[in-house]
Symmetry: C3
Subunit: 263 residues, 3 copies
């Protein structure tokens, strides 16, 4: 198992796998199997959950092999929520869960951000899925026109956890401009605060596809905040952000103004 370097630096405390906090949740948009293996060889200690985004798993013939590979590196493979939403829309959600089980997924995501699934149906789905899988529920709409309510998100998160979800994923999408984020990508801090205080940082995974969003969450909530929708090429970069090994999150003590040379 690869581990951090020569140990000559003092770094923030950081949990180890299997983690309940400080998870890195990766978004896979269709990465070929060989690339998954090569990434795991250097970064497996920094990856906890691996989501096969939206409906990509439905088209990728390598999914069962990918799940086995991820398992060898103690990474939980997870379905995309949109796939189960579409199945629900077509009254095929049980077929979808059976397919996920046949593929070998240890984890499924239950969301309602696209199809407007009523909350009672979502909770029923969480309950059904939790009998066979580790469940990640997602809160928040993918539609930027849907108003974002901190109280609504917190309430729904608690209901999902009560129905059996292990973690709640706060919506940010691949682009980072909806849900948790304003259209310009800046975080809705009131929403994050509410989720942390009502639901708890240890049950929330914050989708944070952009570096500025990752840095903001780490600076606000610490190295062991759970971050979601991390691009596969950014996994090592996100771990350096957690550990203050990049400018954006490095702890630099204040200095007197005249100590610097010309900028």
């Amino acid at each position: 198992v690869p581990r951090a370097g020569a140990g000559f630096l003092d770094l923030p405390a950081r949990s180890e796998k299997p983690r309940s906090v400080g998870l890195t949740h990766v978004l896979d948009k269709g990465l070929p199997l060989a690339d998954v293996r090569h990434l795991l060889e250097i970064a497996a200690p920094y990856i906890d959950i691996w989501k096969l985004g939206w409906g990509t798993a439905y088209l990728d013939p390598s999914v069962p092999d990918k799940i086995v590979l991820l398992q060898e590196y103690d990474v939980l493979a997870c379905t995309g929520g949109t796939l189960l939403e579409l199945a629900w829309l077509q009254d095929r959600h049980e077929d979808c869960l059976s397919w996920a089980a046949d593929c070998g997924f240890p984890c499924v995501e239950v969301s309602n951000g696209t199809v407007g699934m009523p909350l009672q149906d979502k909770e029923k789905l969480v309950r059904a899925a939790a009998e066979r899988f580790t469940v990640l529920s997602e809160v928040g709409s993918k539609d930027p026109a849907v108003p974002v309510s901190p109280d609504g998100w917190a309430e729904q998160s608690l209901a999902d956890l009560d129905a059996g979800a292990r973690w709640v994923v706060a919506e940010g999408r691949e682009g980072g401009t909806v849900g948790l984020y304003r259209p310009d990508g800046t975080p809705r801090d009131d929403l994050v605060d509410r989720l942390v205080s009502v639901v708890g940082a240890d049950r929330m995974i914050f989708e944070a596809p952009r570096k500025d969003q990752q840095a903001w969450l780490i600076n606000e909530l610490g190295a062991d905040v759970s971050l979601g929708n991390i691009a596969t090429v950014e996994v090592l970069g996100v771990e350096t952000l957690r550990l203050g090994l990049r400018s954006d999150t490095m702890h630099v003590p204040a200095r007197s103004d005249d100590s610097q040379g010309p900028a």
Copy 2:
């Protein structure tokens, strides 16, 4: 050959290879051979044409091997138009076509978006190339300052087809902010409409590098619209968009307003 999943969903009708409509045309900016192989192993059914962008093929020693590999997966390798434009500028276009034939390219692109090649020269080039290759002609300038004329594009497309082009590629570049698109990336819908009605969707390939552009074209023209300049990492994602397996193109029936919980 990899095929779509367990079949538990109803999905839109979709053509199969070899396709005349619904092509996915990929932009390769210099992907190493091993990566091409790994992508084809999972996504070959969703890739029709593979363009070695602009002049990259001139520098990449693996091109002949790449073309053979693509052929094994029934994918047409195509030269970048800019390379032939530069050759034309130096009066080396015949050398360029001979080189393409020696490399094994089944397909070449003929464009005039950079060098201001007169239309009669372009058509001569299309005619010459069509004797040995499947020809994609491109319409539109890469220069955002050149005004875009729907009538001009349609007329030029018809002339290129008449000269022997198999498909016409509508310019959008790698960035998606010129030609088919306004500087902010939104599609010029009047231009798309004109090309579809005059030239026909079955002869047009629309360059669409951005997800919002891909989704717009699919929502407007259906799963079997031909899309060009797709990034290699987005191939599987584009296929999910075609099939309504992603939020942006999923067909969701209208619901009564009170069925949703808190957003």
Copy 3:
């Protein structure tokens, strides 16, 4: 060793490795070893320096093997400046340099863009590092709020060279919106001019992560300008820009206006 194509085009003069001008300096954010190998197989002649960005090398167990691999292709592996800055902040800079030597790095970067290191300390670090390594010093802050002074950058560059740096890297970050660039990414031309006239283009490496920035520098300073923070997926693309094999840098003679057809 891979070399340029069939030679049917006239292209600008271009230096060959080992280069003192016209360097391409790549930013590696954590690329798996196999991917590095595959890229080198097609693009090694176009890569001179390979930076393991900021603190990523501290976490990546494959670093010593990566350095050996790069050496086989005559590419200089270089540490990220931020790692040494953090070590300096913790008074561990000597441990950091020893670690770099143990890993096999031939090259280290010395910067002060994050921690506000006084100039005399930076020069001491450059001097110490230059005893064992090829040194790249970096000028410029990563903080967009720090004012940019052409005279200050030029003066600091000369001091770094005097202390033993081989090249000076002008800050642009991964995003290309600080230091050399305005917040919208356009180059600060007065800064570039000053650095070229005072320090010399043969001692400067300009960080240029974006295509428009690369094209601007090539159009201004020629094919053999040294470019830094090039993304691994853009290496071949950057070489085509240097050689005028892409629209953005192609030399097109002025033509009479009426030679073009409808746009």
